[in-house]
Amino acid sequence: MNNLDSSILSLVTFIPAVGALLLMLIPRRDRDIRIFALIISLLTFCLSLYLPAYFHRTQVGFHYEVNQQWVTSPNIHYHVGLDGISLWLVLLTTFLTPLCVLISWKSIHERVKEFFILLLVLETAMIGVFLALDLFLFYFFWESTLIPMALLIGVYGHGRKIYAAVKFFLFTMIASVFMLAALLWLYAKTGSFDFVTIQNAIHSGQVPGFAAAAPWLFLGFFVAFAVKVPLFPLHTWLPDAHVEAPTAGSVLLAGVMLKMGTYGMLRFNLGLFPEQSRANAPWIMILALIGIIYGALVAMVQPNMKKVIAYSSVSHLGFVVLGIFSFTQAGLDGAMFVMLAHGVATGGLFMLAGILYERKHTYEIKDMGGLATPMPTYATFFLVVVLASVGLPLLNGFVGEFLVLAGAFQDRPVYGILGATGVIWSACYLLWMYQRVFYGKVTHPENNSLPDLDAREQLALWPTVIAAGVMGVAPLLWLNIIDPAVATALVPFVQVASKVVGQ
């Protein structure tokens, strides 16, 4: 089996894209197309299971690396590799995509073929983002996620979908231009796009003019990632995009694409610019805290279920940023875990909201009420996922938030204390929403006839619920792999810190 080692990453990355190509050739029979897309996404998921199975925890650095020249001038390589940080994010992507196919089974009934082509292309691009170790390749995949997602929102969304799609596109596009400028600067000075090469060059001080440019380079990368996360006050595209996107779009947007931003911060901002990360950490953490509290407060007053979930993402991703810029082992472990937990739980929430939308064609909370009576199974699933998102112990939300807060507290107690209020807020808005939607009497008589979940919908939801449970009970399965990678990422910070202490 181990001869797969050299090709497994390319297989996982490109099977969805090849699937998309094949889809183009399949005649327009919607059922065949759906089944084919499901098979492709499941195949990708099964192959991606190889990654943790043969992952050597003791081996430092990147696994399954492939490094081949792509373009000789400029010196661009197809360099992909996997470590404990990217491993689970890749798996999260391959895990959520089949669920997205399932959840879109009936809700997408027009231009079905194009929908699944876009979905599979998007999967390839997202996996590529997490695997690329060549900065150029990274940028390439990063930008490639834009078009499919913008089209998914703009074509298959509802309401003000065009506005949302264009806003999403422009925000991300303009922000990533700054990253491109920073990339080009690094290339001009080092002659390489290779992440590891550049990292070594920077750490050994071989990059001419780096000291003067570093603050700007840091910002160039940071802005691109902060928009994606989204960090307050750059979050305004997110509620629009989420509310108007089709369910699968929301799931992938919240579940995976937001993590591309935090992953980028962790990999590139911390990896390439440790000193600038240190220097900028205070205001970034304050923005993260504002995001946590502001996101929660705004979520509380939303009249629309999807908007509640969207703002909850702003709040939860604030935890991730808080954890990353605490530069503590616990904080970074927690940040990684929140990313995964949020991907599973929020993915689940969006799927549930989408299921309701298929029945009622609205997300307005005031049109619901007492839904637990006609839809008991649905209500149960919803409750489990809400509790996971709130951070109930033994479900996956708790572990990550706890670690992040522990890390933040180590860094500066007041951050920990302020962050901890976010946990309370999230309980408030999610449970309050749950209460208004499910409990009490059925306020709208037409809701009495709502059908409960069917087998396909349950099939899409079970994996998220199971994952939420297993991650909450046995987080070490994940953390064991995350931990050494995070420790490696933190090495320069320990050095920076000791330098500061030594002076």
Partner: protein, 504 residues
């Protein structure tokens, strides 16, 4: 020029073989045209035109086998000129393929249309291999006069006549500037040969006259490439001219003029160019993109976009010679692929009398004709500069060339501009996919000519975006030869041969 040779030898003719072939085919078209009725002339003449362009490509291959000087050092065949010959002829072939259907739909008698395209290409090709300013001027005029006429080819439309007249008046004015510049350069250096000028400018202190000459020549050439502030004619001319011709005008003469500019700036080492180019590049990018934001006519929108793209290309002229040259060459190739493709779609959709050229007419195209919409989307994505398309690498090479010359300011202006530019290209995509058509207009079926043209442009766009290496490598090798011309140009021997393996 003191060369013993009085009569041209056969190798001289080989080195202008593509031009000869094109002229012969052009003349055949002119001779056949009066003998045919309208119905049969459409098909026959377009086929002869296509044959001419393809024969020109073959001739380019022969020419490339035998690099060197010809006609008393007036023509140089090197990798650089082979590259541009190939590019211009491919553009011509694709445009001719697009035109057949267009001419039939517009009910324009083909007549000298295809002949003019071929003659125009003669001029453009000659521009890229000429190293003698007077010859460059003549070639420029051959190319310009053909395009003046072609711009007015929709005879029944007033906008087309306006377009032609405007282009002609302003164009002749601009070429006069160029000629004036040539004269001054002769005064400053005592020669009109680029190699001699290069040597003169390198060895002595540079006379003030040379700066004036460069500025004047830049005015003339800046007009042809639609660089700001000499761009005013562009939107009106593009709006009125027949759509396939706009695709042609915005790529082929531009590529040829950029070739001339490259020879002037980097081979002749013209003085005082830095700020000239800096300002023009910054202005073109900014004016082009900002003005494009508010356009509702697709042809005008693409006109402003072409101004902006001229600006991006000019950025590379401010960079180091070798990197800059190869970046411009690559940009010219990928811009040609995507823009000719985009205009092929535009001319297909325009319909009789070019009535459907507003953004509104593109509404719901994603539903009415998924494949055309998808193809246009890819061209637009490439124009934005998003990966897996040629436009991305083109911008990338230009900006990285600029950055390695420490042109941070200009690069920033360019990068911000390409972000602004994304908006209006995106607007077209949005309209195509996310708006419903006001009235159900059926899209006419795509003829084989347009389909082939689209496939070729699409393949080139994607190829340049995925495997840019081969084209870039060729551009780099030719750029190296271009910027390292021998210091003793008076010896008549063949110039050092670039490694020309194949023409593509």
């Amino acid at each position: 020029m003191s060369t013993p040779q009085i009569i041209p030898v056969s190798s001289d003719y080989i080195r202008i073989l593509p031009e000869i072939v094109l002229s012969v085919f052009g003349m055949i078209i002119m001779l056949l045209d009066p003998l045919m009725d309208e119905e049969s002339s459409q098909k026959t003449l377009s086929l002869i035109g296509l044959g001419g362009a393809l024969a020109g490509l073959v001739a380019t291959w022969f020419m490339g086998q035998d690099p060197g000087m010809a006609f008393w050092n007036m023509v140089r065949v090197d990798g650089f000129s082979v590259f541009f010959h190939f590019l211009i002829l491919s553009i011509g072939a694709v445009v001719i393929l697009t035109s057949y259907e267009y001419m039939a739909v517009q009910r324009i008698r083909a007549g000298e249309y295809y002949g003019l395209i071929l003659f125009g290409m003669v001029g453009m090709c000659l521009m890229t291999s000429a190293v003698e300013l007077v010859l460059i001027f003549i070639a420029l005029e051959i190319s310009s006069i053909s395009t003046y006429i072609l711009a007015g080819f929709r005879r029944r439309s007033a906008t087309s006549s306006e377009s032609s007249l405007k282009y002609f008046l302003l164009g002749s004015f601009a070429t006069a500037f160029f000629l004036y510049g040539v004269a001054m350069m002769f005064g400053a250096t005592g020669s009109t040969n680029i190699d001699v000028i290069s040597a003169a400018l390198r060895s002595n202190s540079i006379p003030v006259l040379a700066y004036v000459a460069m500025a004047l020549m830049f005015v003339g050439l800046g007009f042809k490439i639609a660089a700001a502030p000499f761009h005013i004619w562009t939107p009106d001319v593009y709006e009125g001219a027949p759509a396939p011709i706009v695709g042609f005008m915005s790529t082929a003469p531009k590529a040829a003029t950029f070739a001339v500019l490259l020879r002037l700036v980097f081979e002749a080492n013209a003085p005082g160019r830095f700020w000239l180019i800096w300002v023009s590049a910054a202005l073109s990018m900014t004016i082009g993109n900002l003005a494009a934001l508010v356009q509702t006519n697709v042809k005008r929108l693409l006109a402003y976009s072409s101004i902006a793209h001229a600006g991006y290309m000019l950025v590379a002229f401010a960079a180091a010679p070798e990197l800059g040259t190869s970046a411009v060459m690559f940009y010219a190739a990928s811009y040609a692929a995507m823009n000719v493709g985009a205009f092929a779609v535009v001319s297909h959709l325009a319909g009789a009398g070019e009535r459907h050229v507003t953004l509104e007419d593109y509404a719901g195209l994603g539903r009415r004709s998924p494949s055309l919409a998808a193809v246009l989307t890819i061209f637009l994505i490439s124009l934005i500069g998003i990966p897996i398309t040629g436009g991305f690498f083109a911008k990338f090479y230009v900006f990285s060339a600029a950055l390695s010359a420490n042109l941070v300011g200009l690069t920033l202006i360019g990068v911000i501009n390409s972000a602004i530019g994304a908006y209006y290209y995106l607007k077209i995509i949005v309209v195509m996919y996310m708006r419903d058509a006001r009235e159900e207009m059926s899209v006419p079926p795509v003829s084989w000519g347009v389909a082939t043209a689209l496939m070729m442009s699409l393949a080139a766009t994607i190829y340049l975006g995925v495997l840019p290496q081969s084209v870039l490598g060729f551009a780099q090798r030719s750029a190296k030869v271009l910027v390292q011309q021998p210091d003793a140009p008076l010896t008549a021997g063949p110039a050092p041969a670039p490694a020309v393996h194949s023409t593509n």
